[in-house]
């Protein structure tokens, strides 16, 4: 439909974990071989359990963390080649915890104005005008201009964080669980604000979330991550109506419903999340999979395009299914 904003190819990020002086180092693969394309105006949701590499992937795309291998292009330019200030004008983050994302020593006005000053805007009247305009845009009262972050509520703080991200009108915004630290009543306000801003400013979002209800509400496309890999990626409606990957199915079943009679859903996931330092052989999901097949432990599955989605599972891999028989 429109221009490709983010194009990540085979992105891998390893961390080396020291296990003490004499036991050497081990490699933790936080993100392994992720391909991701986001087009202008899309809202891509990254979902998955804690520790599956969502945040690491987001940090790589933001340029806060160098990738070990692979490449990330923003608007057709590699982030390695983009100058720092231009990268900052293109892509901005919104963090999870608004209590940690605002410097407690600075006023709201100076927090929101920082991106402009960094970009070389000297005139304080210009900064003030634009900061107040942005505060108005995100629904912050002008009287908060000289307030300190701890004088604001969680929802207001998150609005400040959004204003800081938007003051230089970036094209892409990466939201790392933008609502999970907020009260339920405030969550929907922030989500609606994000949706409105997307339409108004023609933004592209990457949203990281645990909350599948949030994802269904706001995302146009969903990518499910498991142990550093994308296991399924599709349009939101396709994925939510007919999840293919057994892990996606389990995730969707794990959503709690407001009806108390239904009890706590049984996801069939059984065993706990595997240790990412020592991932299972073959398909990383096989120890917890309800539909595990003998060869799942042997060969890693390939990505297939099935029914309008990408899914990485042996069930949909005709070749390996034949081999297994």
């Amino acid at each position: 439909m429109s221009a490709v904003m983010i194009n990540a190819k085979n992105v891998t990020r390893n961390f080396s974990i020291s296990r003490g002086m004499f036991r050497g180092k081990q490699i933790l693969r936080a993100v392994s071989g992720v391909d991701l394309t986001v087009k202008k105006g899309e809202v891509l949701a990254l979902v998955g359990e804690s520790g599956c590499g969502k945040t690491t992937l987001a940090k790589i795309i933001l340029g806060l963390l160098p990738q070990t291998t692979g490449s990330v292009d923003l608007c057709g330019q590699s982030i390695m080649d983009l100058p720092r200030l231009e990268l900052a004008r293109t892509i901005q983050p919104i963090f999870q915890d608004p209590y940690s994302s605002l410097n407690p020593r600075k006023t709201i006005g100076s927090i929101i104005g920082l991106p402009m000053r960094v970009q070389g805007v000297e005139n304080s009247a210009t900064i003030r005008r634009k900061v107040q305009k942005t505060m108005d845009l995100v629904g912050l009262a002008a009287r908060h201009y000289n307030a300190y972050p701890n004088q604001l509520s969680g929802g207001q703080r998150q609005r400040v964080a959004i204003a800081r991200a938007l003051v230089n009108r970036p094209q892409i915004v990466v939201c790392d669980e933008p609502t999970s630290a907020l009260d339920v009543s405030v969550q929907s306000q922030i989500l609606n604000l994000l949706s409105d801003l997307r339409k108004e400013l023609n933004l592209t979002y990457i949203i990281i979330s645990h909350n599948l209800a949030v994802v269904e509400h706001i995302a146009t496309r969903v990518a499910v991550m498991y142990l550093g890999r994308l296991v399924e990626e599709a349009k939101t409606s396709i994925l939510f109506n007919n999840p293919h990957h057994p892990y996606t199915r389990a995730l969707l079943e794990s959503v709690l419903t407001p009806e108390p009679d239904l009890g706590i859903p049984n996801t069939q996931l059984g065993a706990s999340y595997p240790n990412p330092i020592d991932p299972p052989s073959g398909c990383a999901f096989h120890p917890r999979c309800a539909q595990v097949m003998p060869h799942c432990a042997m060969t890693p599955p390939l990505s297939n395009n099935v029914n309008g989605r990408f899914v990485e599972c042996h069930i949909y891999n005709d070749d390996s299914a034949e081999n297994a028989d």
């Binding site: 990268l87 963090f95 605002l102 407690p104 800081r164």
Partner: protein
């Protein structure tokens, strides 16, 4: 009975809430009053001292202070073994103590802060090197090294300040490292990086303002530490050299006569005690008042 109470809104003025907080902190008030009094005395020493602190009068040696039956109001705190006015020496001694305390704390604060912030912010190799240097420094006994250096180079005010400054940075480095480490993991540092701030800008506008209250507390501790160390060095005869009126030197010179003229060591001893206590009280107060969680 009215259903609603009148609530006074905070006018939001920073200065107003700050003075209110200081007023509520007794230790801070006591400490700062003493510290500022000592600073004033040190600055105005020539006007306040009743006598020349260096003028000897052997006819009047070892006069007791005014509260003794043999004491006189001419020499309020008596005279020392060379007949010099003790009050005047005490007043001039405040200059030496403060100069050494502040000078040494400034030098060591600069060294320790740079090392600690670098180690905490960059981590990895930089952190390894700094941690190693801290360990090396901690393995050297301060008094022994200071004694050796002073014995080789010779004692003077400048040498004592430099030596103490070069030896007392360890606590600055340790505290700055750990508080920087803590601040570095905050999302606002990541946000500043994502906004395009240079490393120096992140350090100056995001990290430093949030570690500066720790820095102030350590500075006061180290000022007090340096003053005590100077007194110890002077007591051992390797600090400030006579006839400079340092409080430690006064204790040292009085120690031979302490059985019959105990005021010779109690007066400078109490002065040292009060100054160090006051500096620590003030540091405590500054920490309590500047902590951002108290701001409302």
């Amino acid at each position: 009975m009215p259903i609603t109470d009148e609530v006074k809104l905070d006018d939001g003025s920073k200065l107003g809430s700050l003075t209110k907080k200081i007023r509520g902190h007794q230790g801070m008030i006591i400490g700062s009053v003493i510290v500022f009094a000592v600073i004033a005395i040190a600055l105005l020493a020539p006007l306040l001292a009743p006598h020349d602190p260096y003028e000897q009068d052997l006819m009047k040696r070892l006069l007791p202070p005014f509260w003794d039956s043999r004491g006189s109001w001419e020499h309020i705190f008596g005279t020392d073994h060379l007949g010099r006015d003790y009050l005047s020496r005490l007043i001039y001694g405040a200059r030496i103590s403060l100069l050494i305390g502040i000078g040494a704390a400034l030098i060591s604060g600069l060294i320790g802060t740079i090392m600690g912030v670098m180690a905490g912010y960059f981590g990895g190799r930089v952190d390894m090197v700094v941690t190693f240097l801290i360990t090396v420094r901690l393995s050297m006994p301060v008094v022994l090294v200071a004694l050796a250096v002073v014995a080789i180079v010779g004692g003077s005010l400048q040498v004592v300040i430099t030596v103490l400054g070069l030896l007392l940075w360890d606590r600055f480095a340790v505290v700055m490292r750990s508080s920087t480490l803590q601040i570095r993991s905050m999302d606002y540092v990541a946000a500043a990086q994502a906004v395009g701030c240079s490393v120096s800008r992140v350090l100056m506008t995001e990290v430093m303002p949030n570690v500066v209250n720790n820095l102030i507390v350590i500075t006061t501790i180290e000022i007090a530490h340096a003053i005590i160390l100077e007194a110890a060095l002077s007591f051992l005869g390797l600090g400030v050299q006579p006839p400079l009126p340092s409080w430690g030197l006064m204790v040292s010179e009085g120690k031979d006569m302490m059985l019959f003229e105990p005021w010779l060591i109690t007066i400078p001893g109490v002065a040292l005690f009060l100054l160090v206590l006051a500096i620590n009280l003030m540091g405590d107060g500054v920490r309590d008042i500047t902590a951002p969680e108290n701001r409302n």
